[in-house]
């Protein structure tokens, strides 16, 4: 798997109302990598993700997945939105099965994989419940299971835990890290939260707004055997502070 984003820019609107939202975005993502985009609100993070997902087209530049240009949405790029996007009339299990049945997989396979992925996200017991009977964290885990079940080459996560409260957020971060280690998935994570980005990803891109661009990239090499310990360890806190001051500097420059 190789995702290549080259010289991508995006303009919304036309003529005098046009607005440059992304300016010359470049990065690549390879199998097994966990990458994060961090930036303040309006820096174009979601736009980058929508372009990769194929829900929008770049104004210039190219996005290629394994050498093929991205033209439209497809199940090779699974996406999890910030707002809960489960189908409210389907049970948790039916939601997980939904993508697979759109792909036209045979019924027995769907049944088997549904059970497997519900188990992977720790919801084996909750398969029969409707979304409104699940907590916010559980709903996002179902959404992740639904995306994973269609075997995407890359998982796109747009602030998946942004609407959750702090405690559930932390346990979801541990869940996602664990999932990444067990399944070797490739992921691109969008977040406001520097701690979340550092905790989970090998590479962190910092984005600045107006126009949206990548201003700073860090490779994170930390011992992730114990996330709870990592959160309060010295090297982690130093890195967090460094990135936080980088972001503050960007905001300061705007004032």
């Amino acid at each position: 798997m190789h995702l290549q984003v080259s010289q991508v820019s995006k303009t919304f609107g036309e003529g005098r109302d046009s607005k440059l939202v992304l300016d010359d975005i470049n990065f690549e993502l390879v199998s097994g990598q966990f990458m994060a985009l961090v930036g303040s609100s309006g820096s174009g993070k979601s736009t980058v993700m929508r372009l990769i997902a194929g829900l929008d087209r770049p104004s210039s530049g190219t996005i290629q997945l394994d050498g093929q240009p991205v033209r439209r949405p497809g199940s090779d790029r699974g996406m999890v939105f910030q707002k809960y996007s489960l189908y409210p009339w389907l049970t948790a299990a039916e939601n997980v099965a939904f993508g697979m049945s759109l792909q036209g997989r045979p019924k027995p396979e769907i049944r088997e994989r549904t059970a497997y992925f519900l188990d992977v996200v720790g919801l084996a017991e909750a398969g029969r419940r409707l979304p409104r009977e699940l907590s916010g964290g559980m709903q996002q885990r179902v959404a992740i299971a639904r995306a994973l079940a269609t075997e995407p080459k890359v998982l796109l996560l747009d602030e998946p835990f942004g609407a959750l409260d702090l405690q559930i957020r932390e346990s979801m971060q541990e869940f996602l890290h664990d999932l990444w280690r067990r399944t070797g998935l490739t992921a691109l994570l969008i977040t406001h939260d520097i701690e979340e980005a550092l905790l989970l990803s090998g590479t962190v891109h910092i984005m600045a707004p107006r126009p949206g661009r990548i201003v700073h990239t860090v490779d994170v090499q930390l011992d992730r055997s114990d996330l709870r310990h990592l959160r309060v360890s010295q090297p982690f806190l130093e890195m967090r502070e460094e990135l936080a001051s980088c972001l503050r500097g960007l905001d300061g420059a705007l004032l």
Partner: protein, 258 residues
């Protein structure tokens, strides 16, 4: 006076106060008519109305009329609902179709359907067709525009999620849009069914051989206010039943939306 908890609980049941409201009006009716202050010709007593009703029922007229009216409503409304569904969905999903049809429909919608009766009689005569067409004209545009709106309010996330899961056109329509709008569509039908029911009575007042509206206009000619009351009450009851039927269907088929 202190309210016992049991009494208060029984009052909080949604049906209790509603039934009480109906009973109150009934009681006032009974008292006013038995006191003899109002001319019986203007306000017949519940007893006379009941008698007139049972007479009509025994003679088979009541059932005959009800069946005739219900048939017209259902024929016209099924036609309207069946056509409004695909056209409303097409207008809600395709901007060009919407731009083409919306102004036209918005215009016709404001033409009062009963005003079409003379035209319909000239075109289709005095048989069943003009009545069915009146119900169609009176409900089709409302049905279509309301279904169009419900399609426009399908959350983007739900459609885009389906796209990123590998979905395309038709499956997204049948498996995302259709289930999402189902409760609103049923509610649209429920609301517009009420105007279909109004229209059938209007049509029958003008020209018909049988039907609940026809019976009312005949009763007027012979100053039979008791029979007018029978007609009104039966029309109300059938309407209420249809309404409850839709609500029941909605609770059954779309329990997720409650």
């Amino acid at each position: 006076m202190t309210w016992s908890p049991a009494l208060r609980r029984s009052f909080s049941h949604p049906w209790v106060l509603g039934t009480l409201g109906i009973l109150t009006v009934f009681l006032v009716w009974l008292i006013v008519t038995s006191s003899g202050t109002v001319d019986k010709l203007f306000l017949p007593s519940p007893g006379t109305v009941w008698e007139a009703g049972t007479n009509q029922f025994r003679g088979g007229i009541l059932v005959n009329d009800a069946v005739a009216s219900i048939r017209r409503v259902f024929l016209g409304f099924i036609l309207s609902a069946g056509l409004a569904l695909p056209i409303g969905i097409a207008m809600g999903t395709n901007r060009l179709i919407c731009r083409f049809l919306e102004p036209l429909m918005a215009l016709i919608r404001y033409m009062p359907a009963p005003a079409f009766i003379p035209l319909l009689i000239i075109y289709f005569g005095l048989e069943e067709l003009p009545k069915v067409m009146l119900i169609f004209i009176g409900t089709f545009f409302f049905n279509t525009l309301m279904i169009m709106d419900s399609v426009k309010f399908v959350p983007h996330e739900l459609v885009e999620t389906a796209l990123t899961l590998g979905g395309r056109g038709l499956p997204i329509l049948t498996r995302v849009v259709a289930p999402y709008i189902a409760p609103q569509v049923l509610d649209t039908y429920r609301i517009n069914m009420a105007s279909a029911w109004n229209l059938v009575i209007v049509a029958e007042l003008v020209a018909a051989n049988e039907g609940l509206g026809k019976r009312i206009s005949l009763a007027q000619r012979f100053l039979r206010t008791d029979e007018i009351f029978v007609g009104l009450i039966v029309i109300g009851l059938i309407g209420l039943m249809i309404d409850l039927g839709f609500r029941f269907l909605m609770r059954r088929a779309c329990s997720w939306a409650n």
